[in-house]
Amino acid sequence: MIGLVSYLTFFLTMAGIMAIITLGLNLHWGYTGLFNGGVVAFFGAGAYGTMILGGPSQPDQFGGFELPYLVALGGGVVIAGALAWVVGLLTLRLRHDYLAISTFGIAVALEAVARNAQWLTGGARGLRGFPRPFEDQIDNNFLFGVVFLLIVLTVLGLIWLSIERLVNSPFGRALRAIREDEVAARALGKNPVRLRLWSLVIGAAIMGAGGGLYVSYTAFVSPQDLLPILTFQIWAMLIVGGAGNNRGAVLGAVLIWGVWTLSGFALTRLAPASMQIDAGSIQYILIGTLIVCMLIWRPEGLLPEKIKKSQPMTARKAASNSTRE
């Protein structure tokens, strides 16, 4: 029993981290129309950043500053945002597809750096060991899992509230206008480069927070964590859940992570030994098929974007009540 609950805690922690990253992508794609093809780059910047700033010092290794947890996590977030800022300055004035190509390229480049910059990233072996929050106060593994889940949910909640606040403000309205029609938005005085840059940086910083949480959970990061599979998974989560709807993004993250986990189980249990080696590719195909089906039958996702009304709900209800009297 405790095994199952413990596994559920693990599952929800990972799903929560995925949900955070998907919220970041939703700001990019759902609200601004930015095609980020290198989600994993910003996740990785946050992951390695947090690890280097907060991890224990090791011989022949730069970093290991052992900074307090929140400072390390915050540092990872800032590094991810700064990376996005540089990418944005270089590409946002160009045509849209340049952003997709360059973010994808940055992700590949970052993986190569992680593999080779031994002194900074530990190379292919990665960086191991991280003073996880509350770890030395709690000696029970299960309890630690629950506490960490609460930390993830708290961060998810804070990010959720901030993003909701942003996208429902005039700033969010301007982002959506840029997404819908840049020419018209410019004719109405909106500066697309400024708006896109903000969106890119904030979304990437959120992805960085996901990366920071991830490494402080596993206390380990390696180039294996920087593979394009994560970008692909996060896109699947957003498309299935519903771009332009934060509830959809979170729902999609939980669902797809569930499908991913269950299919992984099923394949290791049921598939013949000869196929085990390809289990990963079968999961790819499964998620890919799911994306295609969604795009054909329900392109707006499970929870589609809502059109904003002229009056808040409560005011309209009151108005319709008074007309009925």
């Binding site: 403000s169 005039p170 309205r173 819908e180 005085g189 059109i307 009304k309």
Partner: protein, 255 residues
């Protein structure tokens, strides 16, 4: 202050070897409804695009009142009081009609990230005022019943009215309208004309590209005609009606 709302000097646009607008010098009289006519491909829209900043002129200058605006990006011109609509409407399709309007006013507090996150009270107050203003303008352009509809779902004619409404949210002093009556049914066209006249009496200068000669002759003064990138005629609508060259080049086929 000059009495020209817009002054164009030697404005020229080359697309590769092709000269779409050729050395156009014009003064748009403040407070006028100036009609801009000419056959398809004459360069009218290209001229608008240069004035509104969407295209950089190959040579020549544009001034808005006394301010040289040559080559300025379009987003800086809206807050200077220059608004434009598009020949093919460009609504923000997945946004409601009222949001299309509320978006427009410049320098909103909540348009910056810090403002949106931390100045909620001020933003809410401003939003309230914007919503009232948008609803007033929607009444004015007869779209209030569609306020909550996605702008992509309304008719083409209604989109033209929406674009006018959007432009009005910035309290512009000069509005460039590119074929406002094209594809619009007579009822909506009449509403549009009525609104343009009312705004004009309130001091707004209009430049209107239009193929509907009846519209131009009845409501525009002066009339400017372009052909092959050049200005071939400037004068009152009366003069336009009787100009043999114009009749030949353009009106002959249209009228």
């Amino acid at each position: 202050m000059t009495d020209s709302a817009l002054s164009l000097r030697g404005l020229t646009k080359d697309f590769g070897p092709f000269r779409a607008v050729d050395d156009v010098t014009l003064d748009i009289r403040r407070g006028s409804i100036t009609g801009l006519i000419g056959p398809n491909g004459a360069g009218k829209t290209t001229l608008f695009n240069m004035v509104a900043g969407s295209l950089k002129p190959s040579s020549g200058t544009v001034s808005l009142g006394d301010v040289d605006i040559t080559g300025r990006p379009p987003e800086t011109l809206f807050s200077l009081g220059l608004a434009r609509t598009f020949q093919i409407p460009r609504p923000f399709r997945r946004m409601s009609v009222v949001e299309n309007l509320m978006l427009a006013p410049p320098a909103q507090i909540g348009e910056t990230v810090p403002g949106a996150l931390f100045r909620r009270r001020n933003v809410a107050r401003q939003e309230h005022a914007l919503r009232d203003k948008a609803q007033g303008i929607l009444d004015f352009v007869t779209l209030s019943h569609l306020a909550d509809q996605p702008a992509g779902m309304i008719s083409g004619g209604q989109m033209k009215l929406l674009e006018l409404g959007r432009a009005l949210m910035g309290d512009p002093s000069v509005i460039l309208l590119d074929e406002p009556a094209a594809g619009v049914n007579p009822t909506l066209t009449n509403i549009l004309i009525e609104r343009i006249r009312e705004l004009n009496e309130g001091g707004v200068t209009f430049v209107v590209i239009e193929h509907d000669m009846d519209f131009v002759m009845r409501h525009c003064d002066p009339v400017i005609a372009m052909a092959a990138g050049r200005v071939m005629f400037q004068g009152t609508s009366e003069e336009a009606r009787t100009n043999p060259e114009l009749l030949d080049a353009y009106l002959g086929t249209a009228a």
